[in-house]
Symmetry: C2
Subunit: 408 residues, 2 copies
C-alpha cells in the first residue's frame, strides 16, 4: 500500500475550521486507499506567542529550555489534529518527535536529524490509523527535546517521507512555485516541475515557499516534494531531481531581492589573506553578507565589494570604518540597490543567456552596478527604484509568463 | 544535603512576574544550602484554554490525545521557570514527566503513578542545579503521555518528595489550612498541624486546598506536606501523620457544605440487596451521592435517605421516580439543605462531642434534619438559610477560633 506524507504549515492550522479542513484532505487520501502520515506545524502565530513568553522571563533564554518551550506548539497541533480526525470518523494517533524516536544531535534551536525509527509509524499505519507527527522537533539520545530551526517542519516532512519511501506533499497557501513573484509580475506562471538546484537558488533569492534545508535534505535522499495549495485540489509544483528534459528550458524563474546595500572597499592591497581578514571581521560582528564580488583595480590593489540587507548597513559600516583605517583603503557605500536574478539549469548548456538578460535591462536604460553568477544563476545589481520594472523585463525576455511560454 | 520539593499551582504562575517570584523563593532556599526541586502546574487558566481548543475540534476527544494536549500546559511552565531561574543567576534544568521516567498506568486523564526514577533528578541536583519538574503528567511504558487527573500536580509533589526523601512544600494563595472557612467564620484560625485523616475529611467536606488523592499518597508514604502562602514567609500548616499529641485537641476544624438536596425513600421493603439496587441504578445514571443514611421504619420497611449536590437533584429525581414505582415506596425531596460538620481525631477518645455540637445548634433553635458520623467526623444536615450561623456556632462551641483557642 502506498504511503503519502502530507505537511501542513501554521497558516493552514490557524483555527479549528482550518484543522478540520486539513483533516478532511488527509481523510480523502485515506479513503482512496493510501496510508497517510500528517506532519503539522504549530497553529498560526502560536510560536510567536511562546517566544514572547520566553522574552518576558529572560532576555537570553537557555536554548535547551527554549526548545522545551517551543516544541509545545506542535504538540498542541498534533493532538488537536488527531482529535479532529477521530471526530470525523477515522482512527488516528499523534506522536511527538520523542515518541517516534526522531533522533537529532544536541545543537538546540537548530538540531540536525541523525536517524528516524519508523517502526511505530508503520505499526500504526498498518492498523489503519492516520499518523500525525509533530514537525520542527526532535529528541536527543538523552531525551532532551530539540527543534530543527527555520524551515524545520519541512525537514521533518522530507525526513519522514525518505524514511518511509513515501510520497511527499507540502501544503501551503499558494498554488506552487512561480516563475516570479505574482505580486510584482502579473503574468508569472506556476512551474510544473523544478530541480532541487534551481529551487535552492530561487529560495536564496527570496522565493519564500520552502526553506533550503528541506530542499537539500530532499535532494540528498532524492525525495520528490509536491508543493501545493491547501485551499484547492490543483496540481502544484514538483521539486525533483534534475532531468535532461529540464535543460531544454533555459531559465526557470526570475527573482527580485529588494532593500540591499552595497559596500565597496577600493584599492585594497591585494595580498593573500586580505579577503579572509575582511570577512572574518564582518562575521565576528554577525553581519550577514549577501553577495561578494572582487575585481582587480591595478597591479597591486583590488576592489572588494559586498552586499548586505539594508537593515544591516549600519552594523556593517561600524566594522568597515575600522577595517579601512587598518588596511588603508577607500570605502564607497550604496544604500539604494536591488538584485534581479534568473535561475535555470538550462543555462549551463545554452549560450547567450547573460547577454539576453543584460540587453533587456539596457534597452530600458537600466544601469547595472554589479554582476554575480553561479553555474545556474545570473544576478544583476541595479537601482532599487528600477527593481520591479527590471524583474518584469527579464521575466518577459525569457518568455517565462503564462501563455507566451512553452510550459515545462 | 537536604532536599526540598516546592510545588507552585497555576495561580502562582499566571504571569511572568509571578513566575519570577516563585523562582526567587526557590533561589532563596537554594542559597540557604538546600537542593531544590520545583513542581509546577500550567500557567493560570491555560488548561481551560487548551480544553476549549479540544472542544472546538471534537465533542468527545480521545483521552490519549487530550493528555497529549493538556501536558503542554505544564511543559510551557517548566521551561519558562528554568529560563527565569537561569536569568536570575542560578543554573536550572526542566524535565517533563517522560524525561524523568515518571511511569504511570495507561488510564488516560486519571493515570496512577507506578514508579519514579529519580536518578536524573539527583544527578542534576548534585551539579548544583535547581530541577523544575512538570506536575500533573506522567508517561506510560509505551511512551504515551498521561495526566494524573484532578489534584494531579499535588500528587506529583508528594510522589517526588517521597522518592527523594525530601521536604515537601505546597505553595498556594492562602496561609494554610484553617479551622473553618474564614469568609464565613471571621475568627477562623490557621491550624499549625493536622493529621492526614482529618485533612481527608475536611477536603471531602469542602476545604479546597489539597485534593484527597495527594493526601492519601502522602499518608501512604508518610510525607509531611507544608501548605503555605506563596505571597509571604509565614509558617503554614503541616499535614502529618497522627500523633498522640493531636488527640488532646477534640475538634480540629469545622466545615460547611452548602446547596445540598435530600432524597428520602420511605417504606422501602427491607430485603437484602435493596440498597445495592437503588445506588447501582443511581450510579449508572452518573448521579454523584454525598451521604447515605438508612433507618428502620418498622418491622419490614426502612427509610433510605441520601444527599446530592442541588445541581444533581433533577437527574436524581428522574432515576428515583422510576425506582419508587418499581420497588413501591414513597419519595420525599428536600431542596433546602446544608451540612455542617466537625472533624477531629480527638473525638475518638473524648466523650460528649456529638452532644456538644447538637446542643450548640439546639440553643439557636436550629433543627437537625439528619445526622451522619464517622470515627473522626460528625455531620448535621440543617436548613440552608441557617448554614453559616450554624458553622459559626459550632466553631465557637469547640473553641476553634483565634485567641479563645489553646492552639495546637
Amino acid at each position: 500500500m502506498s504511503i503519502v506524507v502530507m505537511k501542513f504549515g501554521g497558516s493552514s492550522l490557524a483555527t479549528a475550521d482550518k484543522i478540520r479542513a486539513a483533516a478532511a484532505r488527509a481523510i480523502a487520501a485515506h479513503k482512496k486507499g493510501k496510508q497517510v502520515v500528517m506532519v503539522v506545524s504549530a497553529m498560526g502565530d502560536s510560536t510567536d506567542h511562546l517566544v514572547d513568553l520566553a522574552n518576558q522571563v529572560s532576555k537570553d533564554p537557555p536554548k535547551r529550555e527554549l526548545d522545551q518551550l517551543l516544541a509545545t506548539g506542535e504538540q498542541v497541533s498534533i493532538s488537536l489534529m488527531a482529535m479532529a480526525l477521530e471526530n470525523m470518523g477515522v482512527n488516528a494517533i499523534s506522536f511527538t518527535a520523542a515518541q517516534i524516536g526522531m533522533l537529532t544531535d544536541d545543537v538546540h534551536t537548530k538540531a540536525r536529524i541523525k536517524s528516524i525509527n519508523v517502526k511505530r509509524i508503520n505499526e500504526q499505519l498498518d492498523q489503519g490509523r492516520i499518523v500525525v507527527v509533530a514537525g520542527f522537533q526532535g529528541v536527543t539520545s538523552d531525551g532532551a527535546i530539540t527543534t530543527l530551526g527555520r524551515g524545520g517542519s519541512n525537514v521533518t516532512l522530507v525526513a519522514i517521507a525518505a524514511a518511509l519511501g513515501a510520497e511527499c506533499e507540502n501544503f501551503t497557501d499558494v498554488d506552487g512555485i512561480f516563475t516570479s513573484d505574482p505580486r510584482i509580475v502579473p503574468n508569472a506562471r506556476k512551474i510544473n516541475s523544478i530541480s532541487y538546484e534551481e529551487m535552492l537558488e530561487l529560495a536564496s533569492l527570496g522565493a519564500n515557499v520552502l526553506h533550503n534545508r528541506a530542499v537539500e535534505f530532499a535532494k540528498k535522499y532524492n525525495v520528490a516534494i509536491h508543493v501545493r495549495n491547501s485551499n484547492n485540489n490543483r496540481k502544484g509544483t514538483m521539486i525533483v531531481a534534475e532531468s535532461q528534459d529540464m535543460e531544454r528550458i533555459v531559465v526557470s524563474g526570475a527573482a527580485l531581492k529588494d532593500k540591499l546595500a552595497g559596500v565597496t572597499l577600493r584599492g585594497v592591497s591585494n595580498r593573500p589573506g586580505i579577503a579572509a581578514e575582511i570577512f572574518h571581521t564582518l562575521a565576528k560582528a554577525k553581519v550577514v553578507i549577501d553577495d561578494i564580488v572582487q575585481t582587480i583595480a591595478d597591479d597591486r590593489t583590488a576592489n572588494i565589494s559586498f552586499t548586505v540587507d539594508l537593515g544591516e548597513l549600519n552594523d556593517a559600516k561600524k566594522v568597515v570604518e575600522g577595517l579601512s583605517k587598518k588596511i588603508g583603503c577607500q570605502v564607497v557605500y550604496e544604500d539604494h540597490l536591488a538584485k534581479v536574478s534568473i535561475v535555470g539549469v538550462g543555462m549551463r548548456v545554452h549560450t547567450g543567456v547573460a547577454e539576453r538578460m543584460f540587453s533587456a535591462l539596457a534597452e530600458a536604460k537600466i544601469n547595472i552596478h554589479k554582476i554575480t553568477t553561479s553555474e545556474i544563476k545570473i544576478s544583476c545589481f541595479i537601482d532599487r527604484e528600477k527593481g520591479k520594472e527590471a524583474l518584469r523585463l527579464v521575466h518577459d525576455a525569457f518568455n517565462l509568463g503564462g501563455k507566451k511560454s512553452a510550459g515545462k
